[in-house]
Symmetry: D4
Subunit: 241 residues, 8 copies
């Protein structure tokens, strides 16, 4: 048929229209539908904000019954209860507001290290950790090592050097990624959080700080976007798996 | 001496003060001084904005005479002329405003693919490309494939799937990284550019678009920061080299 | 009398003051009172935010008893219940938060196609759809075809090419109108939504993206303004009716 | 071949890759490449900012020698001189900073009426007018009818009612489109300009005013984007031609 | 004593310290304490936001028992009920959220005309009206005469020309003060309101519009600040009383 | 003819169209064309920014030859030279960048007092003073009395209490109008200036300060808008003249 | 061991790693861990926002049982009740939302004077006062002396001149610190508050005003950050104690 | 006379008016005129931006001939040349753009330590250093110790602990003050600089970072305000001298 297209017997428009009738999964080259349903073995991700508990359960069922896994983020308590009732083996995280359902094969060769500046950054770090686990990563943690007590971070050389990727979660002044970026050679993903008040501008201050990091090669995701950081980390560490 | 510290005979303050007199290079654990002089084989990076041509040449000399390489970014024409006069083998890029000096050993296993949305994004893409080359990467290019003519991008499946990292450079609406992020599984680094006028807000519009990308796992660097994107890409592709 | 004005026997001030005593409907040249009560056959539009259910019902009654139609937008549930109790034939839309009352004559020659990037953009799309229907248009829909899975949009060539106007509703990165604008020749109206968090800035990120669209001739309305997009579409498709 | 794809003998990735080797023009369904080279008879648009006079001339030559037309926008004086030297029949507009080259067939059935609030808005209005002419429209003008002297606008009922589309160009308070939107039933495209100082915020104040217009169905383009407004108007008035 | 100061026998510091022990009311030159307790006959103004009903009543009592008047703004319902219970003759305004207590002598020679663009601007206009009445003004009203139906305003020439000051209250596009400023010669005070959504930015869009008014000599107060507009109007119309 | 309109023999549209053919000056009720050419005796105001010297001279000639006056603002030096060459009696102000041409009859009963916080605010104060003079006011001045040396202001009680209106010009912290507003009972017009750097945000910091003034009844004009403040003052002090 | 490091027998990385195993308290040189647990005698500070009452009590217990003091800020009522139940001698401040537990030795030589502009600034001033007391300072107060009634402040010369540091708390126009900075020679710390509405931008207007203070040497902390101002004051007045 | 005031024979208004005729220097209680001419021995500060060289020289002469000192900031080269020609002993600083004239008595007991994050922050640090020297301080320096190479800062324990005040000058991510604030117990004044591009927002990103510092008690001055930081430091270290 493509030859017909090349020779002009069939217009490309017709070819494309026919092509589009094929089911979406056959249309994928590389990983076209990466965002919603990641490739075989990755979880279906359900952004629960604005969905009812039964809607979230229904979406999870669609994937899990085919043997896949699901990850629900930004869930409220009622949604977590409903998912646990339907999937008793699911793992719910109240702080990170996530629920993981179904089996996960570990694929990441090197650990994803998640660092927080303060205890208030914990919810975003938990979302990142649960998301990274759901995508098959080994996850390490380093909590409450903000730059105002820099010795706490400096004493963690081993954890820092063994990481495959570092996710740095920080609100307020957002200064931690710059320090970490100067200490490690691996990729560093900075996640600003909305922790703070007044001139923190709902996380924009930390976001701008991170984009201006004086440590070369630090990249940034949206405010409070623990899931996005985990997805970026997964793109990195499972690349050669 | 650390035992003395632990037993209290010597205060940590004194120990640290003595420790700090040791030359900086011995102080490094992991890659402490990553930003300015990257590890053995990486170039010294000279941000030329606000420096005179002779200052830039002097800094480059300091590194190059020891057998290392240097990369000057944000140079004006006079600085490029001065560097070429002193280092006849240097490679100057007028569009990207960079000069590379000294030998580079290629270390990146997989190519860094740099994509631009429009011709006006070229200067930032050139800075990214030159920086990536200076850091030992193989660099691929895909130009002028903005989303308003989406078929131009879709026809490049092979280039996209063979990349180790993709750097997407786009101004105005900054929409390209979302489309690319949906097409590839490898890491995607988005670089907003200050191309545009009015509501482009000097690149902030593109920056915010990219931070809100509906493709999971796209990370972002500062506006016009081609060098930073290259440094981030290098952290990824040379990680296991 | 105008001659008296010209000759100075009567001042223009007096003439205008008298003129203004004429009832408003006779004052209209072209469509002076377009915003609140559109010309014969168009609905009275009631922006329900900040009005009580009985106030909304009362305003609707004023128009409907004269044989006209009414459209209430931004209603809460109590208002929708009250309108349905008073006008049993009314059509309420819980997602779009609208109620249509009274008969509508279809006037639009070509369909208004409403496209959404994600499921969270649905409420704004519903407001646009209901508003467009209330103004006498034929409405088509294309849901959840965001740019991170671009093949879903590309497979809809027929729907795209047959539209008279396309309304593209998108939050987060707001990238979809640029892609659509490159695919169709008809007018494209972009509606940013407040969907997202952090750097989405309550929809401003999507708004700025759309204003910077690299597809020529895309126009934009206010954030979440589904009604406004429908009104703009109606100005276009019923122009020659 | 699509059957092979459906049956699995050939992967879609291979099919798409082959498909993409077909020349771009055959890939178009609908009007894919609308932005840069509009369909047969429309001009090639050259955004001259950041290009040298000879580059602009070269791009124009590519199109014009094939019998097409070209429109250069945001030109400086040197570029206009260079274009006139190469194409003696070209029409240059110093205020609007545009040059039109080549023949244009008038296609728009109804006139595009361009209204300005003040004399300082003239450059943007000229860019809009020249762009609209280059795209085959009939163009009308109404200058300096800002709302602080509202009677000047009100005396133009005939011009207003006969327009197919109205483009309203206004800086400072940006109030004019709301008034015009209440007077006409046809589509209204508002163009904020960067005219003003202080709290005009480079045109953002006018932009936000227009997005909040109390006249239903007014749409908006980027600040100073006269070309974009003309392109949007062209999508409307030549739709059925 | 001032001579002692001049001759140096007494330091100015001591003189000033003594001076400051005199009760505040004697310290006033001109109207020093204008903001809280306006001069004899003006009301004590109580900004009720963040105060309990009994606190507001207590403050009102302090003034009223001395024969003065009081004006409470931004009251909630409980505070209005409490004030009416204690001062049965008080005048409460539920829409404007104000309560006036005590007698007022009318001092303004010419009326303060308060104009609104839409019905949603009513609460701010009521606050302005009640405040103006409490300060001894004659108040006129013109409601719902927004610029999208400009004929409604134009028919009110008599009301406009007889005003001593005009207060124009408008949200959304904030365009009305520019039109009014072009129609009248008297002072025009513009009050932006937080009416609107999305790009109205909580009233900032209307505020910026008004600051950029193309009608010369329009002045502006803070968003939703009906009280401030009334105070400014009072400064004008009672100046020569 | 209006009777014909009322009886329906002639449509209002036709009436209005005819009415609009009358020359503008007869159309005025009240002072419709106030902004550009103020009523008999007021100057024609020429905003010189973006106009050539000869254009400014030409506009001034049009008015002055009919016995009126003209005021040019935001002039550059060449324009001032050209105006003085053509009108030897004109008064040019290099600091305020203004030129006044033609005779002025003093109309303001009470003086307009212009106060500056610092010497850098002088240009805006000069524009205000020259504009106020051109509109027939008596002008008083009080310079460099910023709040960091509050005693300088406090020693000026007589000047403050005798003013009809006070214009307060201040950049940086913009705190002066609040202090002045607490000292005088007459109208206070605050003019923020773009004096400052960094967090002064080009005058926005001072603007916001003034809008939030804790002194009741202070009104504000655009940044650096000395002319606007003078126009507002003129609306106040010449009201009853 | 440091000699071994210098001679190369032991790498610095190993030395540092060992060093970091020493307990944190011995690692401190100067006051490394200043932020959370200040040096001997300073309170443990607990930011209660987002913590449960029992969590706050538990953290306080950890410190207090060792003879130290604790300060809880941003507490809700339940937390204050829980702390008082567990520590009957604790001092709770409902307005400032703080609780102080345990003994405090007064160390500050000169008083910390806390000034407010209006009564609405009281909560932030109380947080500052309680924090300063918990850190061992003598605290003075001056309330409701905003610049609109400047004589109230000027009458307080003695309190102003005897202060060791002045903390000025002000919302709305934030003008007070400039006046105070011109009256005293000691350090002045400005605290913007989120008091106000509309153009107060949640305290940003006052923040920007203070950063632009025309009084030299005024420093600023975050919006509503009474605790931070007290900590800064403590750094100053206890420096030489 | 004050008794007359108390008894009512003389109004306070008259007393104050007379009082104000006394020369300013006698009016000072405490240090009223601190900003422009600091107390005996402090320099007159001349902000040279917008002043001609001869104006700056004239202002300096006024002070210096009376035996005082002068400090000119933000000078251009011509002004520095003019000052050196007139005052051959003056000290000009080309990087900091300052000139110090006249003798200075050292008064600060403890050194003011000025720290920079990068070499681009040097101009602001030089302005701070020269200003601190002109005000009689001992000044220490620590350059180029940004957080991306944290060991460089940590090795400077002795300099840090011996400082009386630390001024931290940093652009880009502005992270350094948080680290320094955690290492020292003395006052820390943070100066954001406009160094950077894109999301640095002309220094606003660094400013917001510093206001959100996680180290308690860090205070902030305006962007690039080296002089202000020095003035604040002087208020602290010379307080008890």
């Amino acid at each position: 048929m493509l030859h017909q297209v090349a020779s002009g017997t069939v217009t490309v428009e017709i070819a494309l229209r026919q092509l589009s009738m094929a089911p979406f999964e056959t249309l994928d080259f590389a990983t076209v539908d990466h965002h919603r349903a990641l490739r075989q073995g990755y979880p279906e991700v359900i952004y629960a904000e604005g969905k009812t508990p039964s809607q979230v359960v229904a979406i999870a069922e669609r994937t899990v019954v085919h043997g896949g896994g699901a990850l629900a983020t930004r869930t409220d308590e009622a949604t977590r209860v409903a998912l646990l009732a339907r999937f008793p083996d699911a793992i719910a995280n109240d702080v990170g507001r996530t629920v993981r359902v179904g089996p996960v094969a570990v694929k990441g060769k090197r650990p994803v290290l998640i660092i927080t500046a303060g205890t208030s950054d914990q919810p975003v770090a938990e979302e990142a950790a649960e998301s990274a686990l759901a995508m098959g990563n080994v996850v390490g943690r380093l909590n409450d090592v903000g730059v105002a007590g820099i010795h706490r971070l400096l004493s963690q050389g081993e954890a820092l050097t063994s990481a495959g990727v570092v996710i740095v979660v920080a609100g307020m002044d957002g200064a931690l990624p710059s320090v970490v970026g100067g200490l490690v050679a691996c990729p560093v993903i900075a996640v600003p959080t909305s922790v703070g008040y007044g001139a923190s501008l709902g996380g924009l201050a930390a976001l701008f700080t991170m984009l201006n990091s004086c440590a070369a090669g630090v990249t940034v995701v949206n405010i409070d976007n623990g899931f996005g950081a985990a997805a970026a980390a997964t793109r990195i560490v499972t690349r050669d798996s």
